[in-house]
């Protein structure tokens, strides 16, 4: 195809120009046909070589370069987008985790506080109950002691006075009469105190 065109071209140019302008010379050097064939010949050779080398060797390389660059850039943009998305997801996750843990910490804290308060209240109540019981018992003991102390003192006084009399006189006195006397005396004393 290409060869045919070149041959056709060569023939037509040769036929036209070498005959039409053969006589012309002088003036414009362009119209001097002396080196026309030489110029056509060298044009075909140089341009042919240029065309073939560019087509077969150089242009495919350049287009390859451009293609690879384009695809690489697209790839890079894609991965960047993906990574961006992923990082956004991670950030969301992270924020969620932080929020969750905050809530959890709050609830733990509240729980612990309630538990401790409950404990304290319970122990307090127990302690109060114990104390009340002890106080009641002590009070009872105290009143008992109070009630009994008079009789005991009278008894002790009667015994001591009986001993005393025995030592002094060497005679035994009827203990019941002594007790009666002590009773009377203590009554008198009490009345005196009351007055």
């Amino acid at each position: 195809m290409l060869k045919k065109i070149v041959i056709l071209l060569f023939v037509t140019c040769f036929a036209c120009f070498s005959t039409v302008f053969a006589a012309e010379s002088g003036g414009m050097p362009q119209l001097n046909p002396e080196f026309w064939i030489s110029q056509i010949f060298w044009l075909i050779i140089t341009f042919g070589i240029l065309f073939i080398v560019l087509t077969k060797v150089i242009l495919p390389k350049i287009s390859d370069n451009l293609e690879t660059r384009k695809s690489q850039i697209l790839e890079n943009i894609e991965t960047a987008d993906k990574q961006k998305e992923e990082s956004q997801k991670k950030i969301d996750e992270y924020e969620k985790i932080i929020l969750d843990s905050k809530l959890k910490a709050k609830s733990y804290f509240n729980e612990a506080r309630e538990k401790i308060l409950d404990d304290i209240n319970k122990k307090k109540a127990e302690l109060e109950k114990d104390l009340d019981e002890e106080i009641i018992e002590l009070e009872r003991e105290l009143t008992d002691l109070k009630n009994k102390s008079g009789e005991k003192i009278n008894k002790i006084a009667a015994e001591t006075s009986a001993e005393l009399i025995k030592e002094l006189i060497g005679e035994e006195v009827n203990s019941s009469s002594i007790a009666a006397i002590v009773e009377d005396q203590s009554k008198i004393n009490r009345e005196r105190k009351d007055v």
Partner: protein, 244 residues
């Protein structure tokens, strides 16, 4: 160097005379600059394509930007069907661009300032596009010359005009590039000659003109390469997507 502004376009033999039968195919200064341009393109783009780093260095960036620039130009004008012709249009654009740019170096020869070179390129494109068009659409490709929605009375006239415009494509394409390059270089040469002839007193004005023209010519060198490539794309578009 002669003061004739057209002298710079002279082609002369470098080295021995080479003959193929009775045809002279000697290596000339034009051939030399074709070789230099092609080699420069191959070296620059090979270096740019060699390394495969994710972050490109300067040469790699240059080659990749050129690649995407041409690819975008083709897909904008000729659509996705023109992809198989990418490497041809890329080579064409780079070849014309480098020939134009090497022509901007003082004392260098501008390959594209010769009608024969641009015409061969344009004719090759024209013939190739026509063959592609007939291969894709068969005889239906002739519908290109019959625009739809034209009154029957005007149709013969329109068809003739369309055929003429189609046939003049290679001429307009080649003459546009050739004339631009030749005119620019001639003008620079003329102003350069004025600098010498007016001397230290009056030479400053043409010198400043020369400086400005150099910038303009670099722009034109790029622009004409671009126009050449984009017109090729448009012709290709006509052949691939027949929508007249």
């Amino acid at each position: 160097m002669a003061s004739n502004p057209m002298y710079q376009f002279n082609v002369y033999r470098i080295g021995p005379e080479i003959k193929l039968g009775s045809v002279d195919i000697s290596f000339t200064n034009a051939s030399l600059f074709m070789v230099i341009s092609s080699l420069a393109i191959l070296i620059i783009f090979n270096l740019g394509a060699k390394k495969k780093t994710l972050i490109p260095d300067k040469l790699q960036l240059l080659s990749e930007l050129s690649y995407s620039f041409v690819a975008k130009m083709i897909s904008d004008t000729a659509g996705s069907k023109a992809k198989p012709y990418f490497s041809f249009i890329f080579s064409l654009f780079m070849f014309v661009l480098f020939c134009n740019m090497f022509g901007m170096i003082p004392y260098a020869f501008t390959v594209t300032s010769h009608i024969i070179v641009t015409f061969v390129l344009a004719a090759f494109i024209f013939i190739g596009v026509t063959i592609i068009g007939f291969m894709k659409h068969g005889l239906g490709y002739l519908k290109l010359f019959v625009p739809s929605g034209v009154p029957m009375v005007l149709l013969p006239l329109i068809v003739v005009i369309e055929i003429i415009s189609y046939l003049s494509r290679p001429i307009s394409l080649s003459v546009r590039l050739f004339a631009n390059m030749m005119a620019g270089h001639t003008m620079m040469k003329v102003f350069g000659g004025f600098v010498i002839s007016l001397g230290i007193v009056g030479g400053w004005l043409p010198l400043s003109f020369s400086v400005a023209l150099t910038g303009l010519e670099i722009l034109v060198a790029f622009l004409q390469a671009y126009v050449f490539a984009i017109l090729t794309c448009i012709y290709l578009n006509d052949a691939l997507n027949l929508h007249h």
